[in-house]
């Protein structure tokens, strides 16, 4: 390409940077800066002198790694992590299993009311998490739950779903109910993208619907299964609104039940923004490590599969 006469080379060279500026500015202002500030806060603490009343009794000082060591040695944060691990072990397999099953069922040839079923399964995703948790909370509470009423009338035992082990099921149920539809749509979309001639060939070779599902459809939607798994794990690590909404209804949910609830509690109830910042950084790093580790593992598997 010949350079237009009269235009100085300088202008052409700087053009890409000029195009980058808006994105870079937005990135700095709304991404890098808040993260940097959170990091800054996490290395500081407030120090109070004496009674701590009146002017000059409180100042902000450098804390080094103290907030981090406190957070890592905090048994409540560890217990919260263990609790959401248990919760995730229920949510992720059940939700993805159901999503895959529904997607495969919707994708079968003979199906009536396809559009309606798809919408009906997807609809709970459109309900805000807090509203869903409130609604399920009413259904769980023994004294107001219609299920308990029916169980009682039938003379069956009435389990307290807001206590002990069943509490995990109760919380997982809300997440599964709300999240299955979204994951199903992701898997279903990728099922629809599989070329029809593959199925035709399979049928000609005498494959049953079940065999097509197991041997062709599931392997071919593996990338979207990886994606949905990835989203679900992140959502599990960040679980906050459901337990927070159910908390007032039961003695079994503490104010620090999940790690993010602990961050909230420290930042906005205990007014210790520095400890909260350190915990948030740790959670973010753990999420990052987990996500990248998982994606790397998934990628290498896919590559090996391709080279085979």
């Amino acid at each position: 390409m010949t350079r237009a006469p009269g235009r100085r080379p300088y202008g052409v060279k700087s053009a890409p940077y000029a195009f980058l500026v808006p994105a870079a500015v937005l990135f700095l202002l709304f991404f890098a800066l808040p993260i940097g500030y959170a990091l800054h806060l996490s290395f500081r603490r407030t120090r109070v002198r004496g009674l701590g009343l009146g002017k000059g009794a409180r100042d902000e000082i450098w804390a080094g790694l103290a907030n981090y060591t406190d957070a890592l040695s905090d048994s409540e944060l560890l217990h919260g992590t263990l609790r959401i691990l248990g919760y995730g072990l229920i949510v992720v397999p059940v939700m993805l299993g159901l999503a895959l099953l529904f997607a495969l069922l919707l994708d079968t040839d003979r199906l009536r009311l396809r559009g309606f079923s798809r919408l009906a399964i997807f609809l709970p995703y459109a309900i805000p998490g807090v509203v869903a948790a409130l609604m399920w909370g009413f259904l769980y509470l023994p004294d107001v739950s219609p299920f308990h009423f029916l169980l009682d009338k039938a003379g069956l035992p009435r389990p307290d779903l807001l206590d002990g082990g069943p509490l995990y099921l109760a919380l997982a149920n809300i997440a599964v109910w709300g999240g299955t539809g979204f994951n199903m749509i992701v898997i279903y979309t990728s099922l629809r993208a599989i070329p029809a001639e593959i199925f035709e060939a399979a049928r000609l070779d005498g494959c049953s619907q079940l065999q097509i599902a197991l041997r062709i459809k599931i392997p071919m939607v593996a990338p979207s299964l990886v994606l949905t798994f990835f989203f679900s794990v992140i959502a599990t690590l960040q679980v906050f609104s459901e337990p927070t909404t159910l908390k007032p209804l039961t003695n079994s949910l503490s104010t620090t039940w999940s790690p993010l609830m602990k961050v909230y509690q420290d930042a906005f109830v205990n007014n210790d923004i520095h400890a909260a910042a350190a915990q948030a950084v740790i959670i973010a790093l753990a999420t990052l490590a987990l996500s990248f580790g998982f994606l790397k593992a998934a990628n290498s598997r896919t590559k090996r599969g391709e080279s085979r």
Binding site: V48, R49, G50, L51, L249, N251, N271
Partner: protein
Amino acid sequence: MQYRTVAVSTAAALAATALLSGCGSPDDGGDEPAASGPASLTYWAWAPGLDKVADIWNKGPGKEAGITVTVKKQASGDDLVTKIITAAKAHKAPDLVQAEYQALPTLVSNDVLADISKEAGDAKGQYAEGVWQQTTLGSDALYALPQDSGPLMFYYREDLFEEYGLTVPTTWEEFADTARALKKKAPDKDLTTFSANDSGLFAGLAQQAGAQWWTTDGDKWKVAIDDPATRKVADFWGGLVKEGAVDNQPMYTPAWNKALDTGKQIAWVSAVWAPGTLTTAAPGTKGKWAMAPLPQWTAGENATGSWGGSSTAVTNDSTNKKAAATFAKWLNTDPTALAALVKESGVYPAATAAQTGGALSAAPDYFPNQPGFYTEAAKIAQGTAPAAWGPNVNVAYSAFKDGFAAAAKNKSDFGAALSAMQDATVADLKKQGFGVSE
């Protein structure tokens, strides 16, 4: 801008002069035209209808004094405390804030609140000693003016007490016996529940027993949450929960509402504001409830604690501190303002003169069967034990919620939960660097 600042400070100075000259007669506060320029104040609060009360000021005494108050509903309770502290860090706090008594040390410790003892210290005589002391933090300063208070009382289903042949307990021992007697007669019913989801009730019960959770000792805080008085209260309720004499489910849930409305729970230890809660929680049993003094630890005494209650404070960020204090004083001591507060916001005023007569001469709508409701309430309020708050009530309260919820659920030792609450509170004070006396 320059001229406005001058005008504003002139207005503030004049308003203060008017206030000082009006000492002793609260009705005069701000009645005289005291300013030549406008002062515009912002007030963060959550009491419903407070904007209507502020309108009375803006159209009357405020107009003459040139002080306009705008009420902004930002958040309530602890959430508002967090918001105010955050705003104060940016030096953008509003002129006036509503704050619960137990939040005052936290706010003072964050250097948010201004000392208004010069402007409003003369209002002292209008409040019960125990209430006033919560706004001074035991010092010579005055950080807020008391607005409402919540003396604890005993609410019970009059009809069901009669049906089961129960008498209204006057001591806690009788209270326990009543709970057991009810269990014998109707095993599926409970006298009440021990709920761990509102720490304020437990704090009030401890105050009644004589607890002083935070006191100062020189420049050190002394934390006495695990003191004999509180331990007595914790063991009492822990025992009742353990033997199954009272329920252990939290209050303010749909299940709790239903229990109150259907008579599954037939009593509630609550505060003077309970009629409002009962109206929404148990609408079907209106007129069937009655109020009695809180059971006592020693027969014949008249002691009670407080559950809730809030104050009006002026912030250090206010450029019109004197004008703000003038308004705060009018709002919480002027008969017109207090009557409007009772009517519009439904508060139980902290000012003793306003606790009887006027807007409180008729019983609450929910209690048509007890015409002398507020006369009795005023008598009970006289015995309000002083409360002593410290700079990390929030930490103690969350430790209470988690520890006592688990103890109530497992029907385990409440004393252990109380020790944990004490330890968490002391550890937090030390971590922040406060002086702590052991």
